[in-house]
């Protein structure tokens, strides 16, 4: 087997450990402290924000327009409507401001 293969296998194991590890650690505690629970509840918004904020900051007017449109649509519509509106706004805006 090539070294590339082993890099892939090791990367896969490392990734699986991150996906199962948090549960294995948390499940050892019988009672979850309210503050820990509050922290866990904050996880989705906290992590997903880090995938948006730096990308948004480094982007231009077309991307900002798309994010604003998507953000507004998400106040009323579902995830799919929001996504399609944002994508449409992005494609449209890029026709004008590359």
């Amino acid at each position: 087997m090539s070294s590339t293969f082993w890099i892939i296998v090791a990367g896969a194991i490392a990734t699986y450990l991150t996906r199962v590890g948090g549960h294995l650690v948390i499940s050892r505690f019988e009672n979850i402290h309210p503050r820990v629970e509050a922290g866990l509840n904050a996880v989705p918004a906290a992590v997903l924000t880090t995938l948006v904020a730096p990308a948004a900051l480094g982007a231009g007017p077309a991307e900002w327009a798309a994010l604003i449109v998507a953000g507004l649509v998400s106040l009323r519509g579902g995830l799919m409507a929001m996504f399609l509106a944002g994508a449409a706004a992005l494609i449209l805006a890029r026709q004008f401001v590359g």
Binding site: S3, T4, I7, I8, A10, G11, A12, A14, T15, Y16, T18, R19, V20, G21, G22, H23, L24, V25, I26, S27, P34, R35, V36, E37, A38, G39, L40, N41, A42, V43, P44, A45, A46, V47, L48, T49, T50, L51, V52, A53, P54, A55, A56, L57, A59, E63, L67, A70, G71, S74, L75, L79, M82, F83, G86, L90, I91, R94, Q95, G98
Partner: protein
């Protein structure tokens, strides 16, 4: 109709409910899968290796980082460590989703954790928050199409690498941030939502400019979570138990 047939029918409809919710994810991740395959071959992977990496790691950002470092002939252990660092946020997902799927048989849980990607976690967490059970059939309905398309498109991208037309005009390089913003918005009813995203946004941007990618993800996430932990429980909507 027997009870078994009814429960089988329910599992089927749950599965297709999940499949329906997976479609935006499949669409948003398609360009990245194709791009990954193309970049992988460009950086010295074979088509088979690109396929294997997608099938075994199944984590877009970490695969991109891994392939980039591989192309720069970085030491193998450093490549693996970087993949681990990029995926470290999954530890938080794992701790969060564990509460929702603890009632599954162990083998199903083991499979469930394998497909625990960003959108998988977010959409499953939304369902749990709406008071609905996160069942195995529904969860796999959501995760399986994403997985199958991801792996297939990676291989296609590797084969047809250089045939992707102008990706910029089609906006496909920015689809994921849009999708993730939608997920962030969908959690806006949660207590502390705004303070948490402000803390995470600020910390991730600062970390991005100083420490650099991929650490900004873990640092930004920890900042938001810490804020929720530190603020008094009556702000966070979690009842204090005696």
């Amino acid at each position: 109709m027997s009870a078994e047939a009814i429960s089988e029918r329910r599992a089927k409809s749950d599965f297709w409910d999940g499949v329906r919710l997976s479609m935006p994810v499949v669409l948003a991740s398609a360009p990245f899968a194709l791009l990954f395959g193309a970049i992988a071959v460009d950086n010295g992977f074979s088509v088979l290796e690109a396929f294997l990496m997608s099938a075994m790691v199944f984590g877009g950002a970490s695969q991109m980082v891994g392939i980039e470092l591989f192309g720069q002939h970085v030491a193998p252990w450093l490549i693996v460590l970087s993949i681990f660092a990029v995926n470290f946020r999954h530890v938080l997902y794992s701790a969060g989703i564990g509460r929702r799927i603890a009632h599954w048989p162990v083998v199903q849980q083991a499979i469930g954790y394998f497909v625990l990607t960003d959108p998988q976690f977010a959409v499953a967490e939304r369902r749990a928050e709406a008071g609905e059970t996160v069942g195995f059939a529904w969860y796999m309905g959501l995760g399986l199409p994403v997985y199958v398309f991801w792996v297939t498109e990676s291989a296609l991208g590797a084969v047809f690498g250089k045939l992707i037309p102008d990706t910029h005009a089609l906006g496909i390089d920015f689809l994921l941030p849009i999708y993730f913003l939608g997920l962030v918005m969908s959690f806006r009813k949660r207590p502390l939502w705004l303070p948490v995203i402000i803390a995470s946004a600020a910390a991730s941007i600062i970390a991005y400019k100083t420490v650099g990618s991929p650490w900004h993800v873990s640092i930004g996430a920890i900042a938001g979570v810490l804020l929720a932990v530190i603020l008094p429980p009556h702000h966070s909507g979690v009842e204090t138990r005696p």
